[in-house]
Amino acid sequence: MMPKQIMSGDEAIARGAYEAGCSVAAAYPGTPSTEILENMALYKNEIYCQWACNEKVATEIACGASIGGARSLAAMKHVGMNVATDPIFSIGYAGVNGGMVIVTADDPGCHSSQNEQDNRNYAPHAKIAMLEPSDSQECKDYTAMAFELSERFDTPILLRVTTRVCHSKSVVELKERQQVEVKPYRRQTEKYAMLPATARRRHLMREQLLQKMEEYSNQCPLNRFEWNEGSKIGVISSGISYQHSREVFGDSASYLKLGLTYPLPGKMIEEFGRRCETIYVVEENDPYLENAVRALGIPCIGKEKIPICGELNAQIVREALLNAPPPDAYQVDTKAPVRPPVLCAGCPHRGFFYTISKNLSKIVPVGDIGCYSLGVDAPFNGFDFSICMGAGLSAIIGLSKALELQGDSRKALGMLGDSTFFHSGITSLIDIVTSEANVIACILDNSITAMTGHQDNPGTTKNLMGLPSPAIDLDMVVRSTGIAKDRVRIVNPLDVTAMLAAIADGIAVKGPFVIITKSPCILIKEVARANAGKHCEIDAEKCKSCKMCVKIACPSLAYIDNKATIVDPVNCNACGLCLQMCKFDAIKKVEVSI
């Protein structure tokens, strides 16, 4: 018997790629997809893996590997796929040499995303086949099968998973790695050089291929009926929604469990429609399956009952389709205080946001995607809007024009982190400089991709496979745009005086101004080790209860019984921000040996 292991969906996808002989993998980190490449690195002797600058680059790395003959994989979160669609739509026409899998990890419920877009819609749009696993075993099996289907049908395969599949762990049976030879590379411009003449021909071939694949979809073992004789209800479902459906209906319904969800198996759906009296289509977010079922002329119940917004669970499905009340539960009147995620104690972004909050009458701050998105709320109210990766620096160009047009003298200020800058902020900065936009661009360099759990990026000195890599000098990248030296400030964000001065300088001049804040994330292992044992102490005698220190909203510092206190010295690392708030010299840094 093969060994069994508890694996998350992400781990299982990495394992599936390993077993299927994948040899090149690339990704940009993004919840819930990050752990796919992190786990791929476990097989670094067999698979070359790398963090790419962004999802487009990752996909193009995989495209090149595939055309070159190697089995390749690119992984991304749903919004990352928006960045990557340019190569995806073209490779859809071109097809593959070595099998190619693109993983999109969607986030119904927006657990850690700016939207809950349903990337199943991309499969027909980009004309590439799509598989949807519903648990970890399927994640592994479908990934392995995706490589085979990719080569068999000459198409990249979109493997679509969701947060609940990526982050749930279940039992997986392991297999050995299959030895797959890299296919010989040869020049084939008529297939891969996507010029208009090629594209027209390839488009036609792609449409024919999709018809062939639809035929196959009706025989594909990943699409199956589960008949429960005597039941009149039929449920059509895929991915995690299938698991919810099984939980709700048990043996009281028949199922059409779909694994290959583009092209859909029209004949199977029609047969299911004929044999069931009532058809429920259970799916999260968009009516992707439902529209296809209806297009075949089969009446069904779907989004009229099942919410289009948010993540599903068995209870929601039960209430929606069976009108079942929620089970009886215990109740108390007292509510627990809200506990949203916060900037960590010692986080350098806290210093940045405190100084932003002091300038809100003179600037309009714009945010981006990263830990610093936590600065939006009170007490800092650190930015007004955020859109997507990179927009923190681009949107301020347009915003500055709009403010000027309405006579608003405030200066637009944008912010993004080091990893986000490398991802898609460089082009934004170039446009700021060349358009001479009247803005302040802030790059918050904490030397890591922090929000997704500390992945290396071009600015760090190590790569995903643990090898040393040359670090890109962020400051030099900024300077290389040609921006005048006196319009760039490099400051420690935890130094309030220096930060305030830098912002004041930025407001004082008309035109582009750049502030690079430099202070590493305090959770980086080496940084945490260096800070071990350091914390602040507050002298209760000297504390005059002015509450100034509480304004920085540090989770290690509380105001209890009319005195400020360090409540969590373990997580306090003596960043010193509270010290700078205190006018009475009541706070001091201490160090205990550990």
Binding site: A314, Q315, A336, P337, C371, G453, A553
Partner: protein, 195 residues
């Protein structure tokens, strides 16, 4: 077919709920159960509320636990037990640390912390076992082994047949803190035996 059991682990990001659930899941798998564990991480690791859900039985479909479905809630923090009470099944039980971690709203004086949570929960009806795991861990030398103390307590409370839990703890904790973790596990077991 054996009944499906649901365990909810709740706490504050950084307390080690995920490691505890990992060890628990492996143990349950070794006992022959189908196991699904579900958690959502990402932003919530930054001091926000965290929840890990474990379901086990002959065959598990949906990985997540709905309101009124949990057989046991293990709370690493007091207010989090209060927050997740609606998920407890009638007749279910709570194993909780009475440690208090103040969220920002309390730190800045905007909201009150429910210090009387244990009394409130007991009055509501379920069986509540308080295990001062953080305090025990602190006394043992590192507050971070709070999760392993709670694991020991849970194993004892659920009376899970003998998987070699100590081997699983050993295989999944940082090796330099191995001894400490094993002591923490035993301590959790013995405390649960007494209460």
């Amino acid at each position: 077919m054996s009944e499906v059991k649901c365990i909810l682990l709740v706490g504050v990001g950084g307390q080690g709920t995920i490691l505890m659930s990992k060890i628990l899941s492996i143990g349950l798998m070794e006992m022959g159960f189908d196991v699904k564990m579900s958690e959502i991480h990402g932003m919530s690791q930054r001091g926000g509320s965290v929840t890990t859900q474990i379901k086990y039985g002959d065959k598990i479909f949906a990985p997540n636990i709905g309101a009124g479905e949990a057989d046991v809630i293990v709370a690493f923090e007091k207010a989090e037990a209060l927050r997740t009470l609606p998920y407890l099944k009638k007749g279910g039980r709570i194993i909780m640390d009475d440690r208090e971690i103040f969220p920002t709203s309390v730190l800045t004086g905007v909201q009150e912390y429910p210090h009387n949570t244990v009394e409130l929960l007991k009055a509501a009806g379920p069986k509540v076992t308080v295990v001062p795991a953080a305090e025990i861990a602190q006394k043992l030398g590192n507050i971070r082994v709070q999760n392993i103390v709670l694991l020991g307590a849970l194993i004892q409370e659920l009376d899970l047949p003998d998987v070699n839990w100590k081997r699983l703890v050993s295989g999944n904790v940082p090796q330099k803190a191995l001894e400490l973790n094993l002591v923490a596990f035993e301590k959790g077991r013995s405390i649960a035996m007494c209460v």
